[in-house]
Symmetry: C2
Subunit: 432 residues, 2 copies
């Protein structure tokens, strides 16, 4: 955990100590409602649903499968989502204990009290202690943490961003997040389409970018700039393609400056702090962006402190959920680094990714995947779409403000089963 | 990956380029043998065997289960071991692809060429790229990397430490690695037993240490010192008990100095670089030790560079295998930090953990778990034991020099099965 002063620096201590204080600020009806809720609730179930497109393609599109999480206590539920590798996160939820610091994730969640935001942090700390040697646990718990925030928001009738301590949430400028085209011309057409859709910013990433020649990349980048027009905000995602090769990244700086890219994202893997820092010394005015690979607060802190980043990108579905993502947002504010969400799956994950910086007025830009597979759209009844001015608004509704579509999900449900010593440890639970 | 100059700095480039050069140094008979082997081999199978004690206790003893790894190509095999959470690593071996950077680990291993040490690094790089977003992959591949080194050593008739570029291997002084007793008196008796067994060093860890009062810890530490005698080397493992709480750790420094502890291990979680560094400013002459939680080269590099460590402890079964562990050993040498193995399971894992620093004469101390459960002893036909002078020797035999005992393993085999969409993705393979 981060040191005291960094934790929820924008959240009054009294608020953390008793979430029920919210009730006092509400109308009589709401107060009654919250009064009824004031009894202690214990988490009764954690259900994981593995969803997938019928065919998963070998492309950098994270919307091809999903792991939907449902937590329940009493008559209340909350929904969340883990990022990537559903089967592995399922296994880490239910696996037999290896030793005292390698327990299945559910062992630290089931039966725990869930009455306040403080309880969510307590549960997360418990998971990190009891599953210290279970590497996958951070990804697995991320979806549970998200579901617990949704649960608490629904139960208390408040949007998550309010429970996080924000009094107001601010519209974000979405960038259309798409893959590079196979050819420069395809990228040009994608960029033009994005402009027609009303976006003022676009991010191109993955595909062959960085893998072939600097000249190929130059053609791709100029095509993107041409398609976006001179005023469009152009962002570039290298997807860790150069691993730790500073020279390979450096070779692209000239053209990135030519096309006035706002940022170069993930030139290297998340741990390559010194390589990031070396590149940052030469990249201005192109900023460096990164952080989606961080799976705990410390990794993000190190990237903010040591990698020369201008933008820290956090996936709430990986870093340990909304709780840790908010810690990072607070730390980014303190250090003058801009927080940006990372998300590439459903609108449930999108809402979760937006909550941690919903109340940061000057952190305006946000990721908004626009080439989602049908699964990601079918997963929820409602969707987050830009308004007429192209601005994205975090839902002003209880919890995450996104309703799973159980009927829509049905066709994508992947029946799975894990048996150990003849005993069924996991079987896809019924959708409910 | 680490930058070029750090990779195998002690390994001649020509050696890396062609492992078959070894053959030229061998006798005619060996040359013929290697000549026969010089044909290109592709990895045909990767088998994971989940082993466990009938009952796993809620204590900090990592020898209660194991994940044994077998790789095979042609008539050759190699054996390795992944650290902790066998079911989760099994799932990450065989899970369906989520997207291009989240593939099952076996997708980057099966069918790959395995003729030289260079091939092992290539396969590891492929896994890290293709399974970038699969968090568990580092732990999973660790066991495979270990098995590939064993495979290559057996195939070429050389111990792994020679393939790593060491000309000579040096005896290590083992410390008996045990859990604190439930009471100070129990710890006293454990320490006396250790001395009787011929050990000159002992590490006490986990249990209630750090969880109750400073006075309780004081009693435990003085009991350990009394039992070891004034000349014994006393090491203390806090097992991350204080998470990031520098004050809690600081409160134990006085007594750690009183009992002349050589190191304090893992006061904090691996990512807490600044907290480690703060404590290190006050801890001398007690050194700080840590690093077992590192699951890639970068994390270990950051701990060496930024945490004020005197000792970097690497578990080859977590960090990405022997390949990455050797990178860390090279880096530790360059930075004047002492490399120590971390291991707490079978003698196969012990041998793997020793190889990366087998040739470092001045890095003498090594972990040697002495309270292994029957599973860990039954897993191998031969065992690594200290000589009459209490010195441990890395096996001077092909590969890891440890022979799995398939008959001994049988009773501990945990039959497991994973089914997705009705298709069996994993079933415990036959022992062979």
């Amino acid at each position: 955990m981060p040191p005291g002063p960094l934790v929820y620096s924008s959240l009054p201590l009294a608020f953390l100590q008793s979430c029920h204080a919210i009730a006092l600020l509400q109308t009589q009806r709401r107060f009654v409602a919250v009064h009824i809720e004031a009894r202690t609730m214990k988490i009764e179930s954690v259900d994981f649903y593995y969803l997938s497109m019928p065919e998963v393609l070998d492309i950098g599109d994270g919307s091809q499968d999903a792991l939907l999480v449902r937590v329940a206590a009493g008559e209340h539920v909350g929904w969340g989502e883990c990022e990537a590798a559903p089967l592995v996160s399922i296994a880490s939820l239910v696996c037999p204990m290896s030793h005292s610091a390698c327990k299945p994730v559910e062992a630290s969640v089931l039966g725990q009290t869930i009455d306040s935001v403080d309880d969510i942090r307590k549960i997360g700390n418990l998971v990190r202690t009891n599953s210290l040697d279970l590497l996958q646990a951070d990804h697995t718990f991320s979806g549970i943490d998200i579901a617990l925030w949704d649960f608490l928001g629904r139960r208390l009738g408040e949007p998550v961003w309010k429970l996080l301590g924000y009094n107001k949430c601010f519209g974000k400028m979405p960038y259309a997040s798409v893959l590079f085209g196979d050819t420069a011309n395809e990228t040009l057409l994608k960029a033009k389409t994005i402009v027609k859709q009303g976006f003022r910013a676009a991010k191109f990433g993955w595909g062959k970018f960085g893998l072939t020649s600097v000249e190929d990349d130059r053609a791709q980048l100029h095509a993107a700039r041409e398609g976006l027009g001179q005023d469009g905000i152009l962002l570039v995602d290298a997807g860790t393609v150069w691993n730790t090769d500073v020279d390979a990244a450096r070779a692209r700086l000239k053209v990135l400056k030519e096309v006035r890219a706002t940022w170069l994202e993930e030139p290297f893997v998340s741990g390559a702090l010194s390589e990031y820092h070396m590149l940052s010394m030469e990249s201005a005015p192109v900023g460096l962006a990164g952080g989606e690979g961080c799976h705990n607060f410390h990794m993000a802190k190190h990237m903010i402190d040591l990698a020369g980043l201008q933008f820290i990108q956090i996936d709430a579905g990986r870093i340990g959920g909304i709780t840790i993502a908010k810690d990072v947002a607070d730390y980014a504010v303190a250090k003058g680094v801009t927080y940006v969400n990372h998300t590439f799956t459903s609108n449930l994950a999108l809402s979760a990714s937006l909550q941690p910086f919903a109340g940061l007025e000057s952190h305006t830009i946000c990721e908004f995947p626009t080439e989602l597979k049908s699964l990601a759209m079918a997963m929820t009844k409602n969707h987050i779409v830009p308004d007429d001015n192209g601005i994205l608004h975090v839902p002003d509704a209880p919890g995450l403000g996104i309703e799973p579509d159980l009927q829509g999900i049905g066709p994508y449900l992947v029946e799975s089963e894990i048996r150990v010593r003849g005993k069924q440890l996991y079987k896809t639970p019924p959708l409910r």
